[in-house]
Each structure stands twice: as structure tokens, then as C-alpha cells.
Symmetry: C2
Subunit: 405 residues, 2 copies
């Protein structure tokens, strides 16, 4: 008998019809002999409805009362799921964040989980009940309601799995699992059966939005296997994300991830000296603009060229900040491009295989796709290319690395 945490996102509980499907999933898991904790998001659309109400009162609302408001969304789907489970003839009990003490810090709207009291949950599981918990929310030490920020339900699920020593944390969603790349671009995109935490982190951070990054970090830290599967297609075991095992027969490349929301900025002819990077990036970070890739290289005359990427929404702001810095640093030129995208090959297998990068560049070159930036990690190679080239690049690499078979 295993202990499973099963998490269902907003589209999985969008209607009472969907909630009945979810009830079938958790009840049949229980009937297969497992203890089950179900974690639910708010019904799809409910969160927006609540935010819009708040905005009608104050367009910039935030803080404690926003959390009190938003937390009702998950509480609604939680109660409805319990009713639907009862309809299936099984026993269920809902326990909200204050009832099971999902303790967080006091950072309203993006709190972090500190501890979970497993006592009540264990009692209810032992008495044969399915325990239904609202995702996304917690309470601080003073009993104030907090929320984890959007997508925080994944984190709730993994944290519960860690606190209770669950055997698996299953994230049910509207896709069958993690794919080698976006099926809307590449018809032959294939569902990946197994991934390591590191690969999933790279896939997530590169724009593959199946799982929230924080939840993957959490799962990796506490070594909780995550399974991503579809709420609507029962006969598919989804994608299992777990610690790397030596006997795991890994493909060299697991998948191709990309992010369309990038923009690139360059400052040229900066005197190369210690501290120059922080002088350039400092004012941009101070303005709360997140910087993604950073590449620095040295030009002919010993002056450095410095290139980095930011979210497209931050492009204009970052550009003017950079022009400011350029004056102070006597840089020769500031440039930028907000029509670029980032594309990444991800796979733990590439650590032990030479030549992946050059094969990638070769494949792109044959299609006349120009590479603006390159950045590599142990298990990932990222390139910045023009957005017009993205679809073609994805297809070429998917075939070239034989991901579709």
C-alpha cells in the first residue's frame, strides 16, 4: 500500500462534470489499495472572477485581504470534490490550511511553506478517508491566511508529499505529461516517460510550463518522485520525474524547450575590468527586472561586449537603464532586439556525450539559422535565435536528435 498525493489543477476541476472525473480518479486509487491525499486548485475561471472583483474596488489591491479573498477559490473546489467522492460511495474529508496547519511565513500573496502538521491528516487517512486539501494557501504563525502565489498548488502538493513521506506526488493536468517539445510546433513530439529533477528544472525554466519550478526544486530537495499525468486520459502513466538513478537508460537528449518572451540587450566597448558586470546589471536588477542569460566576451581592443536577455515586458525599461549606464561607463554602443527567442536542448545524457553542441550548431547552420547568443550548462545548451526561426529550429533539432521515435 502506497501513500499518494494527487494534485488537480484548475482545468481539471473547471466544472462539476470535471470534478466527478477527479472523484473517480482518487476513489479508484483508493480502491487499488492506496491512501490518497487530493490537492485541488480553484475552479478554472474562479481565480480571475475573484481578482476582477478586487480590482473593481482597487486596481492595485494586494496583501492580507487579497489572500483572504483568493483562498476561497480552492475551498470551493475542495468541498465540491468531497461531495463528489461521497457520491462515488467513498469517504472523504476536507481539511483547509488552517485546519491542518500548513504554516507559512507572512509574505502575503507569495508566502513560503515552513511546516505542515501531519497529525490530523494521518488520523483521517487511517480511518479510511480520502483527505482533500486546498492548494495554494497556508496560514502564518498568527493565523492569518496566506497564499503561495499563482501556480502554488503544485508546491502545496509536493510539500504535503514531503511532510507525509508520500511515495509519489501525482500532478494531474490537461496534458498527458512532459513532451520532447511543444506538439503544436512539432507533430512528432513524443511524451517523455522519465525525466530527472534537473532536466525538469531546465525544461520548466525554458518555458515548458507543465510544472511550477518551485515545486520541482522542493521535490528534488526532499526526493519526492513527481508524476505528471492527464486527468482526462486514464490509460497513460504520464511522465515520472525523479532522482537520477545509475541504471536509468537515459536518452542523450530529453527534450527541446523554448521561451518566446525574451528580449536581448547588448552594450559594446566597455572597458573590461573587475566589477564591470555588476555596474552594468546592478541598476537593472535594482529596478526589479529579472535577467536571464548573460554572455560576456572580449572584443579586439580589450574592451568587452556584454549581452543579456530579459522578459520582453521589461525590454524598454531595461534599455533606458542600460543607456544610462553606458554614458557613465563610456561604452561605445547600446543595442537590443525584442524579436528573439531562447531555444534549449535539455538532457542529463549530454554530460557523457561529446559533440552535442557542435551537432546542434551544425543542424541550425544547415538551415541558415543565425545564432545570436550561446549559453551552456552541464545538462543544457541554450541558443538565442530570431523568433521567425523558432518553429523551423524546433523541427530540425527534433528530427536531428531522433526525439520522435
Amino acid at each position: 500500500m502506497s501513500l499518494l498525493v494527487q494534485k488537480f489543477g484548475g482545468t481539471s476541476v473547471a466544472t462539476t462534470e470535471c470534478i466527478r472525473k477527479v472523484a473517480n480518479i482518487v476513489v479508484s486509487a483508493q480502491q487499488s489499495g492506496h491512501k490518497v491525499i487530493a490537492v485541488v486548485s480553484a475552479m478554472s475561471g474562479d481565480t480571475d472572477r475573484l481578482i476582477n472583483l478586487a480590482k473593481e474596488i482597487n486596481n492595485k489591491v494586494s496583501g492580507r485581504e487579497l489572500d483572504a479573498l483568493m483562498s476561497t477559490g480552492e475551498q470551493i473546489s475542495m468541498a465540491l470534490l468531497c461531495m463528489a467522492i461521497a457520491e462515488c460511495g467513498a469517504k472523504a474529508i476536507s481539511l483547509n490550511a488552517s485546519q491542518i496547519e500548513i504554516r507559512t511565513d507572512s509574505t502575503h500573496n507569495k508566502a513560503r511553506i515552513q511546516s505542515i502538521n501531519d497529525k490530523r491528516i494521518k488520523e483521517e487517512l487511517s480511518s479510511g478517508k480520502i483527505v482533500v486539501v486546498p492548494g495554494f494557501q497556508g496560514v502564518d504563525a498568527a493565523g492569518n491566511i496566506t497564499t503561495l502565489g499563482r501556480g502554488g498548488s503544485d508546491t502545496s502538493a509536493v510539500a504535503l508529499a514531503a511532510a507525509l513521506g508520500a511515495d509519489e506526488c501525482q500532478i494531474f493536468t490537461d496534458v498527458r505529461g512532459v513532451f520532447t517539445t511543444d506538439p503544436r510546433i512539432e507533430d512528432n513530439a513524443k511524451k517523455i516517460d522519465r525525466l530527472t529533477f534537473e532536466e525538469m528544472l531546465e525544461m520548466s525554466s525554458q518555458g515548458s510550463k507543465v510544472l511550477q519550478i518551485r515545486s520541482v526544486e522542493f521535490a528534488s530537495k526532499y526526493d519526492i518522485p513527481i508524476r505528471v499525468a492527464s486527468t482526462f486520459e486514464n490509460n497513460d502513466s504520464g511522465t515520472l520525474i525523479s532522482k537520477e538513478t545509475t541504471n536509468m537508460e537515459e536518452p542523450i537528449i530529453s527534450g527541446i524547450a523554448f521561451n518566446r518572451d525574451e528580449a536581448q540587450l547588448t552594450i559594446r566597448g566597455v572597458q573590461d575590468q573587475p566589477g564591470i558586470a555588476s555596474k552594468i546589471l546592478g541598476p537593472i536588477s535594482a529596478a526589479n527586472v529579472e535577467i536571464d542569460m548573460i554572455v560576456q566576451n572580449v572584443g579586439e581592443d580589450g574592451a568587452a561586449n556584454f549581452t543579456f536577455t530579459v522578459h520582453r515586458n521589461d525590454y524598454k525599461q531595461a534599455f533606458s537603464l542600460l543607456e544610462e549606464s553606458a554614458k557613465q561607463l563610456n561604452a561605445s554602443k547600446v543595442g537590443g532586439d525584442d524579436t528573439i527567442v531562447k531555444l534549449s536542448l535539455v538532457g542529463v545524457g549530454m554530460r557523457s556525450h561529446a559533440g552535442i553542441a557542435s551537432k546542434m550548431f551544425d543542424l541550425l547552420a544547415k538551415e541558415n539559422i543565425n545564432i545570436h547568443m550561446i549559453s551552456t550548462s552541464e545538462i543544457k545548451i541554450s541558443v538565442v535565435i530570431h523568433e521567425q526561426d523558432l518553429d523551423n529550429a524546433v523541427k530540425i533539432l527534433h528530427v536531428g536528435f531522433d526525439l520522435g521515435n
Copy 2:
């Protein structure tokens, strides 16, 4: 400086526009030097939305999870009101039933309040905040969410007022106060300025639905003055309901209440003997049919005639149960009428004034209105008449007892 509890019903918080109006009321009460606790119902329509969701899953849903679901309605309006108060430049904090320990018994869907912990509320009031509390809900000793049943927000408000020793519990609603009778029937119906708890109880139980009966009982028990006033008309002091005071200049009759949902049943020719009432009414009560008026009198041959009223929805069921009993009791006849209504004159003044009943019967007789049943209490005279006669009877009595001036 007074401590006020101000309660706002569903129509008063129906939209964010309405919630802004409510914020203005509580903030101006604070600016007038009062400490203010605001109690809110769910936004009008929200309760029905939630019930409909539950019914989509199970048409007869009840119990613990229904309470977890329904309690979200008040939590939404609570958070929105806090935001709106902040917009007015005042400070507010929401505290839900678990945060302030509104302790109830464990009777889900119609729990009763047992105690309220006033500590946190007092702290927040002392720090200059307006405290916003969701009505209708509580938590039991195990921390389970309970609800007080529909209309329970009035009870929450009065209970909070009692626990904190408030000077007044103000119930804001969509009418200006309690009227001498229904203004839709009698144009000259007048708002009543003052009523005793007893009168209000009689008015409520006779169908005047401004306040929930339980909340009036509660207020009477703890001697908390209640003021009923309009959310939308600020320059009206509403109706004050309080303990009877000797120097209160009472009118003889306070108002005319009526209830259209009644049906009458009669069993004739029953042998009059001890225990006969319980033999007749026992099976009906056992079927959970509530009995309202009961009249018994003795016929010529020593056999009793027994008449009582029930809710029209229960008429058919009660009729067949009565036919059953009639056989066993050898009664001569069972009759009934589901086109009758109950009409009551209410007023503490009638205790010290003889002749009110005969004047009432006289006024009705002059209009050829037939009286089916009569029942009296110290401060009330009720008659059962045909529903066709109701409007006319209300007008005649309103003029006859000079209620409109």
C-alpha cells in the same frame, strides 16, 4: 464613544458598488467616534451559485462539506469590504470564524453559537481598526467549519454584540425599518420608530421577514438593542428594537403582520378525553411537519372539534396523516383548506387595553370577512381568514386602529 456592531445583508453587498456604500457607512460611524465591527453576508446571488454547484453533484447535499463550501460566500464579501474601507482611507482587518473562534456546536448547516473569543477583536479595535467579520459561520470544538443556517448572519451580529457588550447592533438592509404592515398592500403603512423585543418576535413569526427570529431572541436574552435601518437611505434612523421601558410611550397596536403560507386542517367529532391532542398531532409532528396555530373546542354532544394550521407545502402530507388518525379515533370527519392566511394584530399596549379583540372582529365583520380560527396571546390577536380577504382586512385594520398617522 460607543461600540457598534453593523450588519449588512446580501443585497447590501450585492455588487462592488454596494460594498463601497457599506464602506462609507462603517467609516463614517468610525469618524463619528465609534468603534465598529462590521458583519457581512454573502453577496446576493453568491449563496445560490454555491448551492447550485453542490446540487449539480448531489441534489440532497448537506453536512460538513456543504458548510465548508457555503462559508466561502461571506469570506469573499468580508475581504472585499476590507479593501473598500482601505480605499476610504481607514484601517480594516478581516477576521473569520476560525480566527476569532466563533465557537458553535457541531450541528452542520444549522449550528448554534456557544461562545466568542473577544480578545483578538478588542486588540484590533483598540489599534484603531474596523473589524470585518463574516456572518453565518462558526467553527466547532474540533475546528470544523459550521454554518448557522440561512439568515444566520443576523444571529452572528447579535452574538458578537452580546460577546463584546456593544451598545447597539445595527442591521442594515434594503428597507427603512419595520413597518406597521406591508406597504405593498397598504399605502399608508408607516415605519415604526420603536418596538419591544416581544413585539418584534410576534411580527417576525407572523411573516414580517425583516429580522431572523433567532437573532431577536438572542438580543432579548442579552438585552442588546437592535436597530434596523436602510443601507441605501442614510438620513433615516430606522426602527429601534429594545427592552420594554416604563416610560416608553407605546401605541396600543404596533403593527399588522400576516402569513400567506398557511393551510388549515380540521378533525371533527373526536371523543374528548385526556391525551387526544397528542394522539392527533403526534403522527404529524413525527413526520417533521411544523404545526402553527392550534384550536380545540367542544361540540354539542361532548365530542371535540380540533383545528390546526401547517405550512401549505405540508398540507397534503398532513391531510393523509390526519385521515389515518381519524380512522383510529373514530372521528366523524376530516376537513381542510389550503387557501387560508393568518393575520395578526401585534402590540404590547393591548395588554392594558380591553376591547381590542372585539374591535378587530367588529371591523372585519363590517366588511363581511369570515373568521375561521382565532388565537390570542398577551400581545397578539391572530385570526385565520380566506386569502381573498387578506388585502382588504389589512387596509381596514390599518385605518381602524389608526396606524397610518
